[in-house]
């Protein structure tokens, strides 16, 4: 596929028309909106629901909404959810079975719920996270059919990052504030004396068709220059970074580090980091019978390596200590993920830092492990 459409510009009315067009196509449009003191991801009836004029202040274990003077809609990061909430939902029925009075058992596979999603406002880090979950859940021999069905039908509209948070560190994971290919449309939000507008790059034929359906104009040099400068500036404004070393090797060499005891003393093992992580994909399955015993269902639901039962094998959990579980999470994310899936499992979105109630900071822990390994050398 080759898409040669030149960059374009949408103004606020164009953005409204974009959402209206997607809703008109029967798509379920999901994007950022303000609810319960945070910018969450939810179904949008129109662009009016976007968080115009809202930003966030982030720190380890702390998230606060703040007003912005400029009216920007996408100047925020590290919300409490990621797109896996929709592509890889927290609970999903896989099949059910019924027993007739004669004793015959019939199985009914569940048709995956797969709305035609349009995701508006996918951050570049999250776009990379979706690509990682694609490899994990559809790249192997046994595809997660529900995920695959939803993902194939989803339209992705990314928005480049011009306002990284204090917990952001995508650049040090090999990413950056500009969207990599994988989007249908990529927006860059520009707010200055010339107005509120969005530079649009087209990433697919479907994206090109969508752009054609809404009022837009060709990109002017000033908008392109401002957009590029804002994204370039964002690259240098990351609040945090991982140490610039071979993290895969560092994790492998740190299995007996003393730092694990230190972090385990602070870790609540509550599982929040894995639930908010846009790449953590682990699930468990449960069989549930009803009172009659003639009907049973198999459900898949999110699980976490911080759950004691996660590693439960005949008569006991393999990773019974909090230390073993934190170490499993971090070494899998940064090291053994490479062995399994060919990349790191971390995109540097900073959610695990912001949404840890105890404020445990992955960049601080990795830096401490690095320092410990240097000291021992």
């Amino acid at each position: 596929m080759s898409v040669t459409t030149a960059p374009a510009v949408l103004d606020r009315d164009g953005l409204d028309a974009l959402v209206t067009a997607l809703v008109g196509q029967g798509r379920t449009v999901v994007g950022p909106t303000v609810r319960d003191g945070a910018i969450v991801l939810a179904e949008l009836a129109s662009a009016d629901a976007l968080p115009f004029g809202w930003g966030v202040e982030l720190e380890a274990g702390r998230y606060r909404l703040v007003r912005r003077e400029d009216g920007a809609a996408f100047a925020h990061s590290a919300g409490p959810q990621s797109w896996k909430t929709f592509l890889h939902p927290a609970r999903e029925r896989l099949w059910s079975a019924d027993r007739t009075p004669e004793g015959h058992v019939s199985f009914t596979p569940e048709e995956p719920a797969a709305p035609d999603y349009a995701f508006l406002g996918v951050r570049p880090c999250d776009l990379r996270a979706v690509a990682i979950q694609d490899r994990v859940l559809t790249g192997g021999r046994y595809e997660d059919s529900g995920y695959g069905a939803r993902r194939r039908r989803a339209l992705l509209i990314s928005v480049d990052c011009v306002e990284p948070g204090a917990t952001c560190f995508c650049v040090s994971t090999g990413g950056g504030p500009a969207a990599d290919p994988g989007y249908d449309l990529a927006l860059t939000e520009v707010v200055d004396g010339d107005g509120h507008r969005f530079l649009v790059r087209v990433g697919s034929e479907e994206g090109a068709r969508l752009l054609e359906a809404v009022p837009h104009r060709g990109a002017d040099p000033a908008t392109e220059t401002t957009a590029r400068a804002s994204v370039d500036a964002a690259r240098d404004r990351m609040g945090r970074s991982l140490p610039p070393v071979d993290l895969r090797a560092l994790m492998g060499a740190s299995l007996d580090a003393e730092r694990w005891d230190d972090v385990a003393a602070r870790c609540l093992t509550c599982g929040n980091c894995t639930m908010v992580c846009p790449t953590c994909f682990c699930v468990t399955t449960e069989e549930v019978t009803d009172l009659t015993g003639d009907h049973t269902e198999r459900w898949q639901r999110w699980d976490s390596c911080f759950d004691l039962d996660f590693s439960y094998l005949h008569e006991g959990p393999v990773r019974s200590s909090g230390k073993a579980r934190y170490r499993q999470w971090l070494t899998h994310k940064l090291s053994t993920w490479h062995d399994q899936f060919g990349t790191s499992g971390c995109v540097g979105c900073g959610r695990c830092i912001a949404w840890c109630p105890a404020g445990i900071d992955i960049t601080e822990e990795v830096a401490a492990l690095h320092t410990e390994s240097e000291t021992e050398r």
Binding site: R35, D36, R62, L268, N272, M275, A358
Partner: protein
């Protein structure tokens, strides 16, 4: 084959947990069709003799008589499942474990000599073997039906041991601690309620007791950070599962 016999017993408790069983209005007919309700005084004065296939016990042990009674119930029950914070952790009445019961007796009662009580309130599991403990104050009715269903089917109940945080995240509730700085016991509390309180923007107050994987000492600095002094932390932990949380703090 005759229907399995279900019994419900009460020790020191408020009745809320067995009331939860009566509250299962949509499932009651199916339940009554599946089991023989042999002993359930809150529902019927008809009492059938044991042995019982499944006994649900609410309440804690606070008297010498109940300490004897629970042994008799155990001996008469094939499976014994304790339900609720009183039966699984001693309940709010376990606050006596940290105080002088004789003093209470003198101050509260005109005739303290009429009161015959133990110095502590203890969970049923401190007295007899228990096949399963279902937590909550009160227990959650979906979980209660699940436990009964599982025991009838001879399978393990689907009652996860993880924290309330799992339930908040699964239902998409924004964390009240991180986003609003509210003290919350969710990270150390056993899941099961469906993360009810945070969904209404208040912190979890720990009705389900410690989770299966709990690091309570790690939460204390978080509660202090969010504005609680030492006394407030103690009060926060000393409610329905006071004895269980206290054990986690001192272990």
């Amino acid at each position: 084959m005759s229907a399995p016999k279900l019994a419900v017993f009460k020790l020191a408790s408020c009745d809320g947990c067995q009331l939860t069983l009566l509250d299962c209005e949509d499932e009651l007919l199916a339940l009554a069709g599946t089991v023989e309700i042999a002993h359930f005084l809150e529902a019927t004065s008809t009492v059938l003799p044991g042995p019982y296939d499944l006994s649900l016990v609410e309440g804690s042990i606070t008297t010498a008589q109940d300490a004897e009674r629970i042994r008799a119930i155990r001996a008469n029950s094939r499976h014994l499942v304790t339900i609720g914070a009183c039966a699984t952790a001693g309940g709010i009445q376990a606050l006596r474990n940290f105080a002088d019961v004789d003093e209470f007796r003198r101050v509260v009662y005109a005739h303290p000599e009429y009161i015959s009580t133990l110095a502590t309130s203890t969970p049923v599991s401190a007295h007899v073997d228990v096949d399963f403990e279902l937590r909550g104050c009160p227990v959650d009715k979906r979980q209660l039906i699940e436990v009964i269903t599982a025991f009838l089917a001879g399978r393990k109940p689907d009652v996860p041991n993880h924290s309330v945080c799992f339930e908040c995240k699964r239902r998409g509730t924004v964390c009240v601690t991180v986003a609003e700085g509210k003290p919350c016991l969710g990270p150390v509390t056993h899941a099961g309620c469906g993360a009810l309180c945070p969904a209404y923007r208040r912190g979890c107050f720990g009705c389900f007791g410690p989770s299966g994987s709990v690091n309570l000492p790690a939460l204390i600095p978080v509660l202090r950070r969010d504005g609680m002094d030492d006394d407030a932390v103690v009060r926060f932990l000393h409610t329905y599962n006071a004895a269980a949380f206290d054990k986690e703090l001192t272990s």
